[in-house]
Symmetry: C3
Subunit: 309 residues, 3 copies
């Protein structure tokens, strides 16, 4: 396979990787499956029986690929089936990156054949919908870059807090020719700001993310962990049924229909297969994408520097 | 009746108090009924024929119970039936409190038997819907604490301004085990911020309330009264039909369906009857809730300090 | 025709002018029609094949009347039929005014008889809907006053940036007795802020416009042109189909139904014909409206100074 074909395979892999997870994903979950696998890239910590933490721990970039999606599916299975958990915090222990983006280099065969999740959708949009609908309050704590699927995971959660100095959000996909699924963005930020975030694809720092409603609040970096921990413990101390019922009421007024996620997914699938997108993805990978360095650190700028042949 | 039972009765009273108002509430209103009753806890002032003011005046906390709900129903009747009124400002003349919360101590018999309002809903959600739909512009001016039903009244109104230094908003209910009705919160603040406000139940100061879209603006305390009065007089000077028509257009695009208020109400009713909620309410009352002091002044903190037996 | 009647005719002209455009508007467009007419009040510049600029250039106030609506219709025709254009920036080259408001003085006969646009609506709401639905990203750059139809054009576009020091937005109509169409306002700013903007009708400066979500961002005046140009070139450099598909996804979640624009239009038509509105319009014109000076510069204040006879 020559380089060009390999690149195309990689991009198709990206597509396929998001489209299915091994059938075992929904077997009866046990704590050991996800949390204690020796090579787990995502750590599950039960801080207390009602307050869990999901930590992305795949240096240097916290790239998410098929294997990480499988881990995340198992963790969501565990959360769904536990009777005590009431709050889940998602964070990262990788300096500089909450979650860079989806894996652009994995070979095709690792991703094809993934089966739909319980919602009937491909595992990635399925995960987003399941996280949004968890009978648990989810809080995302963003330090470092949360791009692409990292931003989408943050949007799927119930609340988002970001390090004012060290957090970056972006939906860089447009710059690589891809249509980001987007999900609930327009309902959070309003039409004009959603359009800007999705169609200009620039890096958004903590301050602007707060002003745009992209996150709940930007918190000074030194206070972020304590702030999120205090809020998580507070919510975890409340009556379980009350917390669940409040979430349901908020859902009625604010949760997009699942069908929108499918529409976004279909648009993504179409976009990634177009020749122009393939060329942009190849150019970005050639310049260093998916390796720590300038392109990953300044993804918003890097995507704007592409010149068509 | 022992203390525990009395407490339970009180909480049921809270439920019932919100569920009906004496059948006389919709008799033909006269100015004297509400505005001039010598023991009125809510004052109605006709600043001009087109600009009225509703002032909560029940020291020390501006607690709202069945009697105050009846007064408010009569005032809303008056507003609905007047041909000239065009703007209504809601404020408080009680230092430190716009409206603390609903009465947690009133005996059962004062509240049971209340009949539904004109919308067919219990009088409290009925009031919220009627205020939202008034053919009049409503402005809430918040100085001091507006918690629980105080926050819900503010959300039902058309606009909210808060003292930057002396205003506090909160939906503390979750900390007492109760599900707040919520109403239009998610549409004002977005899903993430609504979830935080309702499920973390913390005190929100003026600055944060503005950043979250919970209020229109936080205004320096020294300027708040003048700002609201100027805006009220300005709107009152415009063409009546034009003002009404603009409100109708905004309603089409932004008013939640009445049915959502009913769903919220039902969730509240269920929550208040649960044993865990009863225990939390009793513990809070025992620590001083409903009496001026630390618990009322720091309700957000107080609700987090409950330890189950 | 005496002055009073002429004034009434002018106001009716306003109504009618917004209600139809000559049937030729949808003839096959050519670059020459709009962009190169020697007396064009709106300049169309093709900065690059994929990045166009529409500049309002009708000093001293950038008043829009029937002739300007016809020019704008032709420009929108050109944009809709071009295969390469991907971004359109709307700005003004008139100091102090992005677009003051609709023409209040044009004689009746210039405006009557205008035919509906392709959506079946009157040309002004038709233009707003067509701009919102363009398969192109539209960015409005606001320096000076954007009132009435200027604000509505900004709201119809995909993104809005305003000069922090020199930008003013307002829906002044209520102060002249008119119901502004409004459009997507409540979905951008939330119910409370939309109500304030539309029913108080005050001037909104750049800072407040940003805090209210009325615009994407307020940008320091010295940086505004460079900021918008950089963003436009960035978006213009991306894959055409990807940009179009992203806009469609955002539309699903955020674009008001066209029918709302019609409802707003009908309310406007009714309001402008009422005697109180006629009197207010006459009083404003008598005091200097539509001529550079205090009334136009401080329209928010001027509309509040009307005293009924």
């Amino acid at each position: 396979m020559n380089i060009a074909l390999k690149r195309i395979a990689a991009a198709v892999a990206l597509t396929a990787a998001m489209a299915g997870i091994a059938a075992t994903a929904h077997a009866a979950p046990t704590a050991a499956i996800a949390a204690e696998a020796p090579d787990a890239k995502i750590h599950l910590t039960r801080v207390t029986p009602s307050y869990w933490k999901v930590t992305f721990a795949s240096p240097p970039l916290n790239i998410v690929g098929p294997a990480e999606v499988r881990e995340l599916v198992k963790i969501v299975d565990l959360i769904e089936s536990d009777k005590q958990v009431q709050v889940v915090v998602f964070d990262s222990n990788v300096a500089g990156n909450f979650m860079a983006h989806y894996d652009l280099l994995k070979p095709l065969e690792e991703s094809t054949g993934m089966k739909p999740g319980p919602t009937g959708m491909h595992p990635v949009p399925d995960l987003m919908v399941r996280i949004a609908r968890l009978p648990v309050i989810s809080i995302v704590s963003i330090r470092g870059r949360a791009s692409g699927i990292g931003s989408e995971l943050a949007l799927a959660a119930d609340m988002r807090f970001i390090s004012r100095e060290k957090g970056v959000l972006s939906q860089f996909e447009v710059g690589a020719g891809m249509v980001p699924g987007g999900g609930p963005m327009p309902r959070l930020t309003g039409r004009g700001r959603a359009m800007e975030i999705l169609v200009a694809g620039e890096d958004i720092n903590g301050d602007l993310a707060e002003r745009y409603g992209y996150v709940n609040r930007a918190i000074p970096d030194a206070e972020l962990d304590g702030f999120v921990d205090t809020m998580a413990r507070r919510i975890a101390s409340f009556e379980h049924q009350t917390v669940v019922d409040i979430k349901k009421l908020v859902d009625v007024a604010s949760l997009p229909p699942d069908a929108e996620m499918q529409v976004g997914w279909d648009a993504f699938i179409s976009s990634v297969q177009r020749p122009g997108t393939q060329q942009r993805l190849q150019a970005l990978v050639k310049r260093g994408m998916q390796t720590p360095g300038d392109v990953e650190t300044n993804l918003g700028r890097a995507t704007a520097e592409y010149k068509a042949k």
